[in-house]
Assembly symmetry: C2
Homo-oligomer: 418 residues x 2
């Protein structure tokens, strides 16, 4: 029997009516001849409520108890979904993590899968059950404690089950109807993609597209799980949404597939840093330990080099605005401890990041030039540039962000299909 | 190390402040040198919310899914209680039913304990943990499905743990400060009992005192678990509340310990029933199958016997008012099927039951006479009488209920201590 994994996020199971709506979609796939594994999140708002209680009770909480508490929201949805399917005469039962058992590491709050044994669920399918409803986001450690995978973990659960059970596809039902060339709120020319490669999706996810959790895309890429992102609120069929798949499945791809952005970026520059081997490690080690997500890094020869005995340099990096205070403290502590030296720390909290992403870049030259020209024509000044094999990112003034996204969307003709 | 079981009901853990308050009481017992097993209910209102969702989703629900959903409330409280204790530097961890594992029958929604193995929890106590927080009301079946014990099941969980671990005492923290000679809302002369025997408590519980679940008292009696009922909202010490214990522990006991009542009773009389062997079974069998809780039963020779060829009788019984419709239907169905015959069914939905309870009755004559005289002096007419070894119950007009309770409380001098 061919098998599908279907995952419903919090807004898709927010109340009993929406759970029924989701169950209808499951029933339709069963009617098409599939066995189905359904992964459910907690009803929207529930996990936040539980997390709030834990934080209020114990700011430095025992992560094992945190996991025991916050995992309960998914258990409720799983039972309600199984009951809803039963009411539709679809033979279904719910599974909590420990019942499968979904074996994970003991890294509470950020656990990783160790194994998903198929025997228990396969036995139920063999008995005639058509649907296994799995509480997402959770597992059980070797010590028998409940673990969670971190926020967004239900996507990862879905992909892991699709890999373990050799699913034909993993459908992620959410509150958007697919992956767009860019955010439709920024330009009405944004176009829904029919397909996108794992690599591109990874760049888009980590750049802030927020539709799929990064780890779930990594896992899907590793195990070649075909992911489909589609809306639980629309009528859907086999062609709905966006398929995230291996690039081999994508016949013809444009040079650039999408324009991503991140609005709240800061640019920090350490002025007049001693330029010696190991200086980058001395700077970015403490930042990493402080939990600062350093993104783009640029090192320039300082104009002041001539004024110093030893060679000096300026070191610039970007990080999310809300991490600036932490970054500043980590750098000052390192300076006070004599690990690094710098004259001043310049902080610009008025930046945004805009990126173009596309696997086509690998074989096409001139993408960067076209990008910089498009921005220049709009008078957008570039503060920092960073590139990878399939992505070019620039840091710009925040006030130009929308303009830049629109200009790049036009420049790469993303409103036109294939 | 001596061990205590402490159970906190829904109102005692209704929010984070109350959970802290409950945790303070646990900490005090740990400071006195006890290891403690804490049993928690769901935060008040949570179980009703979950039950409501299940009923709305599936009126004839799969009880296994019901249990999976409704058990989640206790899991939340258990984790929050463990975290709260940890914040107070009391080494604690939470246990869900399957983690102990609390082994039960597969009677979902009304499961019974099969075994509570001590090994896992004992190992934690040996490691230096002082408190094991157990999610009440739940267990796991041999099939690995989550079970629940039925409403009020957390009391039963507490007693079962006290029996399994040989606890010195099982303290039931609730929203009243003990067991009273009668309901203080009916007479201000009601007095809190220092001690009461299991047998008396059983009669009081089943008569509507509602403080302790009947099954938990039965279990406590069988395993000689000393139960203490006390308020989680008051300052408490070792003398607070009421101790429910073996009658051997009660030095001197009054003839009557308490007056119980049940307000919404109905009296049903089947007039002119054929008086033959097996007629009682023919009447009460169908009532039992229909889920009618028949309480008092009286059979009289009918005045009309002389008018009939065969001997006839009148059969009177009582049941809760809200079961009258079901009772009527069951009786009519049995008559239509030819299993029983009667001329008319008289229904009086205006009744209440008042009972006096006391182990002293066993050795004292004249209790019934004193009771009937007290009621007669107030002009209260008795409809039905039923007696057991330690209880006398009368069915009366509902409008006299408060008056009857007050009169009996006075007649047996229950306002005066032992």
């Amino acid at each position: 029997m061919p098998l599908l994994v279907m995952k419903f996020g919090g807004t898709s199971v927010a109340d009993l009516a929406r759970i029924r709506n989701a169950a209808e979609k499951v029933r339709a796939e069963v009617a098409r001849g599939y066995d189905v594994i359904v992964i459910v999140s907690a009803m929207s708002g529930k996990t936040n409520e539980l997390v709030g209680w834990v934080n209020e009770t114990s700011p430095l909480y025992d992560a094992r108890e945190y996991d025991a508490v916050v995992s309960s929201g998914e258990n409720v949805t799983a039972g309600l979904m199984a009951l809803t399917l039963q009411e539709m005469d679809v033979p279904a039962r719910s599974w909590q993590g420990w019942q499968v058992p979904i074996q994970t590491t003991s890294a509470h709050g950020a656990a990783r899968f160790v194994d998903i044994p198929r025997a228990n669920i396969d036995a139920k399918f063999a008995e005639g059950f058509k649907v296994a409803v799995i509480a997402g986001f959770q597992g059980v450690s070797a010590e028998g404690r409940i673990t969670t995978l971190g926020r967004g973990g239900s996507d990862t659960t879905a992909v892991a089950f699709a890999a373990a059970f050799g699913a034909e596809r993993c459908d992620i039902y959410t509150d958007v109807d697919g992956i767009y060339t860019t955010d439709p709120r920024i330009t009405s020319k944004a176009r829904k993609l029919e397909k996108i490669s794992f690599e591109e999706m990874l760049e888009l996810a980590s750049l802030g597209a927020k539709v799929l959790q990064t780890r779930s895309v990594e896992l899907a890429m590793r195990y070649k799980v075909r992911l489909r992102v589609l809306s639980s609120f629309d009528e859907t069929d086999e062609t709905s949404g966006t398929l995230v798949c291996d690039e081999d499945e994508i016949m013809e791809s444009k040079v650039v597939s999408g324009v991503a952005y991140s609005r709240e970026e800061a640019k920090l520059t350490l002025v007049t840093v001693e330029d010696r081997p190991g200086i980058a490690a001395a700077i970015f080690g403490p930042l990493s330990e402080a939990g600062v997500n350093v993104d783009m890094i640029v090192q320039n020869i300082s104009e002041k080099s001539q004024d110093h005995d030893k060679p000096v340099t300026d070191m610039t990096f970007s990080c999310p605005v809300d991490q600036v205070a932490r970054a500043r403290k980590a750098l000052e502590t390192a300076r006070d401890a004599g690990q690094i030296s710098y004259e001043t720390l310049q902080v610009d909290t008025d930046a945004a990041k805009v990126s173009v992403v596309g696997i086509g870049m690998r074989s096409h030259a001139g993408v960067a030039a076209r990008m910089f020209r498009a921005l220049a024509e709009e008078g957008v000044n570039i503060k920092v540039i960073a590139t990878s094999e399939i992505k070019i990112s620039v840091l710009i003034d925040r006030k130009y962000m929308e303009l830049a996204v629109q200009a790049l969307h036009d420049a790469f003709e993303l409103d036109k299909a294939g």
